[in-house]
Amino acid sequence: MARYLLGRLGGILVVFFIVSVVVFLLMHAIPGGPYNEDKVPLSAEAKANYMRKYGLDRPLVEQYLLYMGNALRGDFGVPFQSPTETVTGLIARTWPVSASLGLAALLVALPLGLLLGMVAASRQNTWIDYTASTISTLGLTVPNFVVAVWLVLLFAVQFKWLPTGGWGQWHHYIMPVAALALAPMALTARYTRTSILEVSRSDYIRTARSKGLSDRQIMLRHTLRNAMIPLLTILAPQIPNLITGTIFIESIFRVPGLGKFFVTSILGRDYPMIMALLLLVAVVWSLVYLITDILYVVVDPRVRLGKSKT
């Protein structure tokens, strides 16, 4: 186990390195620079001045080494789009907002999705199953920004129960969480149903049933546990997305989160911010994956970590 974890950590470092190089090259391949050019073209000299100001006139290799050198010392630079703070400060200010929203959505989506999936599976091919399946299909069918727009019109403009957006009080969570939770809930429900059906047909469940265990006991003790593997696989990738924020929901509900920076950094050619966001997500991903792999072992003892097969 320890050796496996060490290996994984080494792998993570390799991943970081490759991601940073690829992205560094990609982002510098985007046309345009961090300067604003609107009505009248900037003179070549003025552009050169600007590039010099941010050290963008140096060779790419030198820029990369400089950046990584600083990053290793914990200095991720100053975001072009918000020069009064540091990249670290900006992320520290916005990420917790997105993370709390994402976690809240996950906390809503998981139990609801599991419930829907279990109900659907236990009443396969009945109207209950069809209703649950329809609900979960709808959740995957309507884009969440469309749902978000309608939530605002309904609950803020029509009924005036909630503000159209904002941040800081508990009721600001309601609409964005609802919009965000829909898709992961639907996904969870679908996979739970599929996996339970699959597992319940397997030999050991039949054995359990023949031993006289009740359906309920079988569901909780065996089926659900075995159905967890595909669910983990499909749900794990949702987590980093959820907790790093989304521009679609955050921009509609005025949530001051990290989500919009994934887009504005690219639109604004904010190189330090692009790099920082990618490294941040890479860290989150790696952690989630490490945990997922360990969870595989926990839920399914037959999965062996890191040992090559005989």
Binding site: G11, T141, R190, E198, D203, F262, L278, D300
Partner: protein
Amino acid sequence: MSSSTAAAMGVAQMQGLPKQRTLLGDAARRFARNKLALFGLFLVSALVLTALLADFIAPYPYDAANPTRALQFPSSEHWMGTDEVGRDVYSRIVYGTRISLAVGLGVMAIALVIGIPLGLLAGLAGGPIDYIIMRLVEVFTAVPALMLALLLISVFGGGLFNVILALGIVAWLDTCRLLRAQLLSLRERDFVLAARTLGASGTRIALHHLLPNAIAPLIVAVTIGIPVAIFAEAGLSFLGLGVNDPIPSWGKMVGNALSYMRVYWHLGVFPTLAIAITMLGFTFLGDGLRDAFDTSMNR
């Protein structure tokens, strides 16, 4: 036809000759008994037909704008109304079938073509090969999908082809990871252990026992992946970076409708319905296929 069917066929062929007829026959019979699955097959077939016969079905060209007829509500002349420049929404949805299927299938095709071999390799070979493949998967997953797509589109420009490519490059990861996870779990199951004890070779175990059993979740993943790809394209449209006009993609239509929906509900509702029907079709079809193959294999 749909890639999931194709994948299933491929599986059937891998079963080896003597078994093939029985397996396929069993599956087909089982499939035919499943009403929901047949409904799914019907929907998907209808979509494919619509895409093929769009020129005959659509009453108007998809790109014929006429500002004097802009933003009309549904009528006998325009069954789903007209959009902000007076194009017939029904015709655009009909033609949009082509684009949306191209996006969905194109992205999933990329996902399967890259994902299946790599997933198989990782799940079966294990060891250093698994290690390298999983690092590769991580490199790609570590970059947020939206950001990677944005980066690629910013560098290489928008347009249908680039959008499919940008989304496909992200989509194969799930296929690969899912297949590997299934294989990891199945590898230790009783029937595989039994086969191994009986002296079956590694390849034989992989092809006869592991892949068929791993295919069910893969089919489900593909059926979900198609609308997800259509969605992702809608998201890019929301950011103003989807396919170019006048190419009618449902995702783009929904994205555009955002600022019109409150009054001109038809601009948002019909493309959303089109996506929903596609989703339902592939879901039912996928579930049906899974059930059909699954039971026959676990017997």
